[in-house]
């Protein structure tokens, strides 16, 4: 296959990790919660899925069942993390930044403790082929486009539709912009915040699972998850809080992130060792630029949700 096309597909596949992470984070941020626990949540999502695969591995289940159970394990673990976060920040009105950072510390640590105990020959070698259906036998970049990749694209599109085309989405955005007003018109603010955070965490957790089981599919994959989590938070800004934009954004991110290792294979381009870190820096620099440009242009629809980071207490004036 053409080298560039191959590269594009790999960027897409890599980007799906961020698609999950940032779609999840967008839902949470739309409810007014800046969840810095996403790296920890993604890690735990990965650990949860692998834990289940490790248990069911010897049972020789039907492939479809393996996929479903793995996904459920991942969802359960990451939604549990989301529940911890929303209990602390919504019900107990704790500082979101601090809670998120604590959640990341906890999640990354627990994932490492769990993953070391699991057996990669059980949770990885067999399931990898199942999860990479339908292109598992290919040797080019197409092999990475497995079941969970298509799920990622679907979730991003559905999330956009829900957020911007349905009543539920309108209410959710109202909660994030001005919870007091939403409360006044009868929206159950607490319920919306809880659901958005937990569902968002579940989606983000799948990203961690996808990275371990499909995209990287190696037993060291979990070590890079934390960095991908932070990058997902960056991508939210890049996508201007629109889930469908994460598909484009994450491909660009995947492209920028992997081009440092990929670009050397392309004829006519030579990269020195010193340029590699600079290339890897690009996604972050581009994010900063997007952040600056949107704040200078100051268009209302491109801004972060107005109550982002603030706890809502009904009786406060």
């Amino acid at each position: 296959m053409n080298v560039w096309l191959n590269f594009l597909i790999e960027s897409l596949a890599f980007g799906a990790v961020f698609m999950y992470g940032s779609t999840g984070e967008i839902l949470t941020e739309k409810a007014g919660h800046l969840n810095l626990g996403i790296p920890g949540i993604m890690c735990m999502g990965g650990a949860g899925g692998c834990l289940v695969l490790n248990i069911i591995g010897p049972m020789n289940l039907h492939p479809v069942l393996v996929v479903i159970l793995g996904v459920l394990g991942s969802l359960a673990m990451s939604m549990l993390m989301g529940l911890i976060y929303s209990f602390l920040t919504v019900t107990l009105r704790a500082n979101q930044n601090v809670t998120g950072l604590a959640l990341t510390t906890f999640g990354v640590g627990l994932m490492k403790v769990i993953m070391i105990k699991l057996d990669p020959t059980v949770y990885l070698v067999g399931p990898k082929k199942i999860f990479r259906w339908p292109f598992a036998e290919r040797t080019d970049a197409l092999q990475y486009l497995g079941v969970l990749f298509f799920v990622a694209v679907a979730i991003a599109l559905i999330a956009s539709w829900v957020l911007y085309r349905t009543k539920v989405g309108l209410r959710l955005r109202a909660v994030g912009e001005n919870p007091g007003t939403a409360d006044a018109v009868g929206v159950n603010v607490t319920k919306y915040k809880y659901l958005a955070t937990c569902i968002g965490s579940g989606i983000a957790g799948l990203g961690g699972f996808y990275n371990i089981i499909d995209y990287q599919a190696s037993q060291e994959a979990y070590l890079s998850l934390e960095a991908f989590g932070w990058l997902s938070i960056a991508l939210v800004i890049f996508a201007l809080w629109r889930p469908h934009m994460t598909i484009i954004g994450s491909t660009v991110f995947g492209f920028l992130f992997s081009c440092s290792s990929y670009i050397a294979n392309i004829e006519g381009i030579t990269v020195t060792m010193a340029a590699k870190p600079l290339l890897k820096m690009l996604p972050y620099v581009v994010t900063i630029l997007v952040l600056i440009i949107t704040s200078i242009r100051n268009k209302r629809e491109n801004q972060p949700p107005a109550s982002l980071g603030l706890a809502y207490f009904r009786e406060e004036r």
Partner: protein
Amino acid sequence: MSEQKKTAAHEPLFHLAKRSSVNPVAAMGIRLAAIVLGLLVCGLVAFALIEKLQNNPGKIGDFYYSFIKGSFTSERKLWKFLKNMAVLQCISLAVTPAFRMRFWNIGAEGQTLMGVLGAITMAFYFGGKVPEWQLLIMMFIAALIYGAVWAVIPALFKAKWNTNETLFTLMMNYVATYVVSYFLVIWVPSGSSTLGKLKFGKLPPLPFGNQYLLIILISLALTIFLFIYLKYSKQGYEISVVGESIRTAQYSGINVKKVIIRTMVVSGLLCGLAGFIIGAGLDQSVTTESVGGQGFTAIIVSWLANFNPLFMIVTSALISLLNSGAAQISQDFNVSGALPDVIVGIILFFIIGCEFFINYKFVFRHKETGKGAAK
């Protein structure tokens, strides 16, 4: 009449109200209870994760004893504990001025790392070429400048265009990481990208006492300085006013933009100083992991202390204690090195959560309907 009864029945059992004043003794009690509760949950989690404990439940006493053993059982451990605490305290102090004006600077990790890089850059290029004391001064100045520059960039954009500072400073952390790895590639052409310990530019220990004493004294002096700066200086007062309400600050003639930029410069300088301590005082080298997440931990430390530099001594001690205790557990019970993060995380959840019970109170129904109306 019946209508009234109906509405009364729908009144919830209790509702929440903000406490108007917080009793410090009660607050301490609640926090202690939270920590104890957190430790109990840690014990349960330990049972789930540590095989040695499952086989021999009697070892649970050793599990808790590790928190003391990790820091206090030998003089060496005690000094190490104090050193860790001093470094964490420095970074926590650095983030505090910005937090007091509600500028959510979560870039301390990157600012400190740039401080380390600044110091080591000087040591790398000028080590051995200029006298050691001159080199140390150059390292000191470079560290402060690097840290301040890294902090002031987001502040400028915040002041001019109200760019979201949380996300901006978060990104700056990663840019800093790759700046460091860029220089490592240039400095270490062999390709290993690890810079060994440099021979020059070591902060000399005091002629008496432990090798870490100087660092501890610096951090203590810094604590007192920052306490006075925030509480008694005009600039500190301006920071508090901006934090309370930007409108009030504007009406009373405070130049908010100037305060934002100046405060972030102070934060950055202090982060740079922490970087100097790490670079010149401890490591004499730089890696992308030189700060090792302490920039993020510092945010938690500062917040737990309610942004008060003196309380921060207690909170940074607590976090250091938990960290070295949990490290001791991983060593004694043969578990993965990531266990400390799990334990610290759990206890943090409890401490974070308990703040709610300090700041809010439950008002129950019968109280309200009785004589509560006057309140």
